[in-house]
């Protein structure tokens, strides 16, 4: 399965092995793991709660995976995103991309993260020493996603 939204943690090594072992032509595995930080905008973060839109989340993630497969010469991709309450050092998201060579796999992996950040319906609420607060969308995430609309695919 290409996309999973779950409360449980994930094992990066196992997921990587699962994805690449199916295909002995895989030469490159690019990956990204997002982690809960204990500090954000100057405040201590004691925990993070992730809300999502069940149904639309999976659809939007599957959609960005097929866009990545259409744009780059990759074999496979996997996105796992956690929801619910997480603590500092907890893993939030995993994006894995397998391909024959590294260049295309790196690009597809970064594209998936950038698009996920701006298009998948997840929302973060931080529990900090100065109270609870919804995390604001960052302008830098918007521009990171935008650059894929302005670049050629090579």
């Amino acid at each position: 399965m290409t996309v999973r939204v779950q409360t449980e943690d994930f094992d990066v090594g196992q997921e990587m092995l699962g994805l690449r072992q199916k295909n002995p032509k895989v030469g490159a595995v690019a990956s990204f793991v997002g982690v809960v930080r204990d500090l954000n905008d100057g405040d201590d973060v004691s925990s993070l709660t992730l809300e999502h839109y069940p149904g639309m989340t999976e659809r939007s993630l599957e959609d960005i995976v097929s866009q990545a497969k259409g744009r780059w010469d990759i074999y496979d991709a996997l996105i796992i995103h956690r929801v619910g309450t997480l603590l500092p050092l907890d893993q939030i998201v995993l994006v894995l991309v397998t391909g024959a060579h590294r260049g295309e796999s790196f690009k597809a992996c970064e594209f998936l993260m950038d698009y996920l950040k701006t298009r998948a319906p997840f929302w973060k609420k931080e529990q900090t020493s100065s109270g609870d607060r919804w995390v604001e969308a960052r302008e830098s995430d918007k521009s990171a996603a935008m650059r894929w609309e302005n670049t050629r695919d090579d």
Binding site: E51, Y53, G55, M56, L116, K117, P121, F122, W123
Partner: protein
């Protein structure tokens, strides 16, 4: 025409509900008509769904603009810009 409207994250909290159902007697309705009905509830509804607020709109789980046309049984969702990953 019956339309289901879902709210997420900060909007869900401010509106103190995760769902509102809206009915129109006619057809040819757009997302903007739903927004107008909600704004007429006043207070936080008027504030948060104001034109200058940067909420997002999904129609049947795909992002749309407020000009999107509606059909019987559609599911609209209103929410703040997403912050996953």
């Amino acid at each position: 025409m019956r339309i289901k409207v879902l709210f997420f994250a900060k909007l869900r909290e401010v509106f103190e509900t995760n769902q509102v159902d809206i009915s129109f007697t006619g057809s040819d309705n757009k997302v903007s008509d739903v927004l107008m009905v909600l704004r007429e509830k006043g207070g936080v509804w008027k504030d948060e769904l104001n034109e200058n607020k940067s909420f997002r709109i999904a129609l049947n789980q795909e992002m749309v603009t407020k000009d999107a046309m509606l059909n019987e049984g559609d599911e609209i969702a209103l929410f703040p810009p997403v912050t996953g990953g």
